[in-house]
């Protein structure tokens, strides 16, 4: 029997009877029906694409506010850069002795800290280095807790999927989403693009921007098999010192604001771009090759002969790709002056922090008592309907973006975008028409901190 004949026959006589016909089957074995992509219509209120730093929080917020919520994530776990990328020290929730970002992101971070038996630093003391107020989390726990919270909020999490088409028709979005063995036609009222790359924004036909040169990505790893203290650094070329030192940072019980570092070694990956499967594959391959080269080099150095990799993240973490061209573009001046807009929905605190050419970092610190904020308009692509973004693709100039992109800020944006989307859905309108006061009220109910209210 030819293959085609066999298929046709399977279709007509059904699986069970075919099992009986087949002479090669052992007892208990059945032949599976030939593979066909399952196609399913899905109707939802809010569709979030990207279950990373911002998207996870957005999904939980939307679900808790009572909206039917679907979350598409092309990877296999929640958390994105915070977990899969290995940047497991979200910051910054506190500035100048006060908490500035709360809500669901902070809840998730605090739960992770508690369940890991860690201790928070005393945030009332302003540290002499801003990053000391980042909170190290156990990435495994973080992703487990995120998933538990999504489940409790009845979020339909769809791993291994990615949209291939988005179309706006008569007040609703229609999205084709493809994954392993599935192809879904999703109809939704509101979309939140949390891919980090503004990919869905671009697919929807709205403008996205990027610089000719982008910041490098990083492949995060850790090493063992050497003792930093006993190395004779004079005999080791300077370019390796950073790798050897950085890797030895220890996660400690945090009793003061002074010790929140985690083991965090990384190799830079120039031009890393996670926007498409192809560019992300390339970023991963480059990162892995760079790491292999580094390990080989290190093993040739005195005292490092037994160096080995003890952990490597599965993906290269990406700092910068595309940003949306929003209803408002946050400028560096807005950022460093701590401008609060009428429609500011969340705070952001970090130095302007631009990794240049993989060799140096341009940093500009915020002056005392300055805290930047994110207006709703920066989350809405220009001329869009029923569409929001959250995360590092927020509409901003490059320098403002280098501060806005940090994790606590992304979480704050995720919550704000979701609260807006839920109200837009309930009112049958588009995000820019939702009353800002109503959004703020909903955010307050869910523990978020509103700019201007602390």
């Amino acid at each position: 029997m030819t293959k085609i004949e066999r298929r046709a026959m399977l279709k007509t006589i059904g699986l069970a009877s075919f099992g009986a016909l087949s002479p090669n089957l052992l007892k208990g074995e059945t032949l599976r029906e030939p593979y066909s992509v399952s196609e399913k219509p899905i109707t939802t209120d809010i569709l979030i694409i990207g279950g990373g730093t911002a998207g996870t929080i957005a999904a939980i917020q939307a679900g808790r506010a009572g909206a039917k919520t679907t979350l598409i994530e092309s990877g296999s776990q929640l958390g994105g850069t915070t977990t899969t990328g290995g940047v497991s020290f979200p910051g910054i929730f506190h500035a100048w002795g006060k908490q500035i970002i709360g809500g669901i992101g902070w809840e998730l971070v605090l739960d992770s800290v508690e369940l890991n038996g860690d201790k928070l630093p005393d945030f009332s003391k302003t540290p002499e280095r801003h990053w000391k107020h980042q909170v190290a989390v156990n990435p495994a726990l973080y992703s487990l807790l995120a998933e538990e919270k999504c489940t409790a909020a009845a979020v339909d999490v769809r791993f291994y999927e990615t949209p291939t088409m988005v179309e706006y028709k008569e007040g609703r979005w229609f999205v084709e989403s493809v994954g392993k063995g599935v192809k879904n036609q999703i109809s939704c009222s509101q979309i939140i693009d949390c891919t980090g790359n503004a990919l869905i924004t671009s697919m929807a036909g709205y403008d996205v921007l990027r610089e000719e040169d982008t910041q490098p990505g990083s492949l995060v790893f850790s090493m063992g098999g050497y003792d930093l203290k006993s190395l004779d650094l004079a005999k080791i070329p300077k370019k390796y010192h950073g790798y050897l030192r950085q890797n030895m940072l220890e996660s400690q019980i945090r009793s003061t604001g002074e010790n929140t570092s985690v083991p965090y070694g990384y190799v830079y990956v120039k031009g890393a771009d996670s926007t498409t499967a192809e560019t992300h594959t390339l970023a991963n391959q480059k990162g892995r090759q760079n790491l292999l080269d580094l390990i080989r080099d290190l093993r040739g150095l005195p005292g490092c002969e037994n160096i080995r990799i003890t952990n490597m993240k599965t993906e290269t973490a990406v700092r910068e790709t595309y940003r949306i061209n929003g209803e408002y573009k946050v400028t560096k001046e807005d950022y460093v002056s701590g401008k609060i807009f009428d429609d500011s929905l969340s705070y952001s605190f970090y130095p302007v922090d631009l990794h240049r050419d993989g060799k140096s970092i341009y940093q500009e610190f915020l002056k005392p008592d300055i805290v930047a904020s994110v207006p709703l308009r920066a989350l809405i692509p220009k001329s869009s309907r029923n569409f929001l973004v959250a995360g590092r693709c927020v509409s901003s100039d490059r320098l403002a973006n280098s501060g806005l992109r940090v994790q606590a800020s992304c979480m704050g944006m995720g919550q704000a975008a979701a609260a807006t989307a839920v109200l837009a859905h309930k009112n049958g309108t588009t995000p820019s028409d939702v009353s800002v006061d109503d959004i703020k009220e909903l955010l307050r109910v869910h523990g978020a901190i509103i700019p201007g209210e602390i």
Partner: protein, 373 residues
């Protein structure tokens, strides 16, 4: 473990092995000043002159604990009288350091007519003393992790022989030392935050009473409160005054104090209904969602839930949203609270227009039903 502060000779030896200390602790014995030089971190701190009249406990090596009028430990002080040697010359060092009962630096005092001077023998001016006092009060300075030879920019192999003053102050510390007195700052900071402080903390920990805890939590400096909460004894009597004090700290807007106060209460304590009820009162009053969440998860560690907590929690079920509702229902479920009134309160949620809330109520009621079967 009996505590021994090194005798003068030991201290002397220690300093000798760190020769460049020498210039640093240069206490000049010229008689320039008539009044004793004294600096403290709190203007209200008044020590010394009448120490003789107060009850003192000595631990040897001039370390004393002074009792307050109410008989509670008040502060510690230590008089350092030693020699600091450099270039084969020894100079006397005489200074008293004061600590709170928690080992927090309170201040220092020089004997009458003595003063500190810099490496170039210039005496400290008032601004130098004030800055020094501020630096000594900062426990987060990195001096404990810095070797003395790292204070100056010079080759490390030259440390033992080179005149330490000749190098430039290392950039790493230049902003956290009194100008021209890098070693003085460094070594005094290490005295303040060294073994005596450790001993003080251990000793206070061993004699702490309910009254002392109440006093610290009510009246003291914030870091003393954190200190005592972080070491909260497991078997101390919890008076109602102490419970009120802890409740006030949890409700307080200072997150770290509230966070530390909740963590001060360990699981075995939670078989006390009074403690559970104090926690739940704080829950009702707190405006911080994360503090509320911590309280509920703390109550989840209790072996049972007091009726008082059940009654109040039932009455607030219908006001809760999001994670707060999830937390509270989880707590009631964990303690198998399934009386009619509670079930009614949860059933009322079924008419909410938020499907998330309805789902939480359904889940709770279903779990109760299963556990009944």
């Amino acid at each position: 473990m009996p505590f021994r502060i090194e005798s003068s000779t030991t201290i002397h030896t220690v300093f000798r092995s760190c020769l460049p200390f020498a210039l640093l602790l240069c206490i000049n014995s010229c008689f320039l000043s008539k009044k004793a030089i004294r600096y403290s971190v709190e203007p209200t701190f008044t020590a010394n002159n009448d120490d003789q009249k107060k009850k003192l406990t000595s631990f040897g090596d001039s370390l004393f604990l002074v009792e307050a009028k109410d008989g509670l430990p008040d502060y510690y002080f230590q008089q350092y009288n030693t020699g600091v040697c450099y270039d084969n010359k020894c100079r006397p060092l005489s200074i008293s350091i004061y600590w709170s009962v928690t080992g927090r630096y309170l201040g220092f005092e020089l004997p009458k007519e003595e003063f500190l001077s810099k490496t170039d023998h210039e005496p400290f001016v008032p601004e130098d003393y004030e800055f020094l006092n501020k630096l000594l009060a900062n426990p987060d300075l990195p001096f404990a992790d810095i070797e003395y030879y790292e204070l100056m920019d010079q080759p490390s192999d030259a440390v033992e022989s080179v005149d330490a003053v000749s190098g430039a102050t290392s950039a790493r510390v230049s902003n956290i030392v009194v100008k021209g007195a890098v070693y003085t700052t460094y070594s005094l900071w290490n005295i303040v935050h060294g073994r005596s402080q450790e001993f003080i903390q251990e000793h206070t920990g061993s004699i702490v009473t309910t009254h002392l805890i109440e006093k610290i939590l009510r009246d003291s400096n914030r870091s003393d409160k954190v200190w005592v909460l972080e070491r909260f004894p497991e078997n101390i009597e919890m008076t109602s005054l102490l419970l009120d004090t802890i409740e006030a700290l949890i409700v307080n807007s200072d997150f770290h104090l509230a966070y530390t106060a909740i963590h001060a209460i360990k699981a075995p304590r939670l078989n006390s209904e009074a403690i559970q009820e104090m926690l739940f009162k704080a829950y009702a009053k707190s405006n911080d969602p994360s503090i509320k969440s911590l309280i509920i998860s703390k109550l989840g560690q209790a072996p049972f839930l007091s009726n008082g907590v059940i009654n109040v929690s039932r009455s607030c079920v219908d006001e809760l949203k999001g994670q707060e509702l999830v937390d509270l229902l989880k707590l009631l479920k964990k303690h198998e609270v399934k009386d009619d009134q509670t079930l009614q309160a949860v059933e009322n949620l079924l008419s909410s227009d938020n499907v998330f809330i309805v789902r939480q109520a359904q889940k709770f009621l279903k779990q109760i039903q299963i556990s009944n079967e």
